[in-house]
């Protein structure tokens, strides 16, 4: 580990902590930064009488944690997919995982309108998006070539087809909805953290942690994959199993995030790319650093999204896309594709 990578993780963690404090202290409810901090450090009050405590503990904190977890999950899913297809331009959106997730969640919202707006919504949508993402993973598995390996070209083209299919499904549903549902759906589809609550945080944490651990254990095998699949196999890597694990991990992480927050693009692309530029591509550094960077980026994007003058709130997904899409185009221009 070089001096640079030793310094990078604490620096990123410090940045995340500062962004988190800033995020807890700011908002549109009129609670001052000082009373927000006091409420944060004195713990949940248990009564509804204390406005600051209620705002911090049931609104801002779950939102902050969901943003951090979602950012880290999207960045990890991106890093996993990039290692899998050996290309820094891969992302969950590209493979149709995010689209599958949003289609599943939209289906639940529309087919069971009773639940819409209820606090159960994230949990139910989660089930649907999860199933959809896994279904996508399965279809991607079917993108195997005759020799038994998942061919990268087939994988990417399957992703294109899945994206088109999920987009068509969503479009169909949108035409069948009432105006009120349309508003709910549209806001959710753009990707926002405004629905954050403690159950969503718990669900995402419970899924993201084992996925992150699995990736960490496989760090060196992911490096070996950079040599190509035969090269990794010569080093003793069980390549078919590793590829299956990567597809599953990316589907779980990106699908769950999409169900809870909607489609938030480009974090999975931007975070690993920035880390590679500064620390190099070794996954032992890349995985933890891009998780932290992804968390930091999404916390900041959400903060920016809800700090507009006049109390306006932008969907966080729009902010990440505004910053991420130009970077993606720049990477595309520079790449040798």
């Amino acid at each position: 580990m070089t001096a640079r990578s030793r310094a990078a993780l604490p620096l990123l963690a410090l940045g995340l902590a500062l962004a988190a404090l800033l995020s807890v202290c700011s908002g549109s409810s009129g609670v001052s930064a000082g009373s927000a901090l006091r409420a944060l450090f004195s713990g949940p009050s248990g009564t509804d009488a204390d406005l600051a405590s209620r705002v911090v503990w049931s609104l801002r904190l779950p939102r902050l944690l969901l943003a951090a977890l979602a950012g880290a999950s999207l960045a990890s899913a991106g890093a996993a997919l990039q290692a899998l297809v050996r290309n820094p331009l891969a992302e969950a959106g590209l493979l149709g995982v995010s689209a599958g997730g949003s289609l599943g969640a939209a289906a639940v919202l529309l087919l069971f309108p009773v639940l819409a707006g209820a606090s159960l919504v994230s949990a139910t949508a989660l089930g649907a998006a999860f199933a959809a993402a896994l279904a996508c993973g399965f279809v991607l598995f079917l993108a195997r070539d005759r020799e038994g390996g998942v061919s990268v070209t087939r994988l990417l083209l399957s992703g294109v087809a899945l994206n088109a299919l999920a987009g068509a499904g969503l479009g169909l549903m949108l035409t069948l909805t009432s105006d009120q549902q349309l508003r709910t759906l549209a806001f959710w589809m753009l990707g926002s953290l405004s629905r954050a609550d403690w159950p969503s945080v718990a669900v995402l944490a419970g899924l993201a942690l084992p996925c992150g651990l699995l990736l960490a254990v496989r760090a060196r095998s992911l490096d070996a994959l950079s040599l190509g699949e035969p090269g990794a196999a010569h080093l003793g890597v069980n390549v078919p199993r590793l590829k299956g694990e990567l597809v599953a991990v990316a589907a779980i992480l990106a699908g769950t995030v999409t169900a809870l927050c909607g489609v938030i693009g480009f974090i999975g692309l931007v975070a690993p790319h920035l880390v590679r530029l500064t620390l190099g591509p070794s996954h032992r550094n890349l995985l933890p650093a891009s998780s932290l960077a992804g968390a930091l980026l999404l916390v900041l994007a959400d903060l920016a999204a809800r700090s507009l003058p006049g109390g306006l709130e932008l969907p966080a997904g729009a902010v990440t896309a505004l910053l991420g899409a130009p970077l993606f185009l720049w990477m595309l221009k520079r790449s040798r594709l």
């Binding site: 490096d223 950079s226 035969p230 591509p281």
Partner: protein
Amino acid sequence: MLQADTISVNRSGAKVLDGVSLSLEAGRILAVLGPNGAGKSSLLGALAGDLPVAAGKVLLAGRELSSWDRRELARTRAVVTQENPPAFAHAAAEVAGLGLLPWEGMFSRAEETRWVGEAMAAMDVSALARRPVTELSVGERQRVHLARALVQLAPAAGKARFLLLDEPVASLDPRHQHLLLAALRKLAGEGVAVLAVLHDVNLARRWADDALILRSGRAAAAGPVGGVLVPGVVSEVFEIPARWVGTQEDRWLALGC
């Protein structure tokens, strides 16, 4: 010992290897030669386990290749294929260090660093250690990959070890060709069985023990280099004139003239 017993390999329906046998003992270097498309890389692929054999079998240390545990196999034999650019800009030392992947968790960081350092010095790439491999020349990268293979086999010293190389000197300058082959000779001296696809008959005569010449997927000639790499065989297989030049004690093959 690495043995191939009348193996055949099919690729997209065509028979690219047809009943080839070979036997490579510990401490020897076998050079595989032949015209383009003769099946050299397919033979290497079959011996490495990358390509399924349609007929015949491959035995490594007496056991059929398919019965080996992945990790055990990776600790016993290393493979360097023809240049395949890495996807990401890993530092050269990181790529060489990947040779320790099958040994993950067995050794201290200090031991790992020592092995990587020794292998990189042997391949004359120590100065490139921190450079991104994507910025190296093909020849430099080839030597980094060989250092990786040396690292992979280093901890297994004293046990049966095998090294399979596809055109390891193809992109190297003359000095590094000899440096690499001298390193292989040294490895063979330590008991490693080395199989290398080579194109230069004189390099093969100088550094290898045995030669196997392939033509159209079949073994055209096999045996000690002194008996196989002679003008008659070479000119017939490669379809160019070949003759001895130099003195009786110090002679080499002049091709094409």
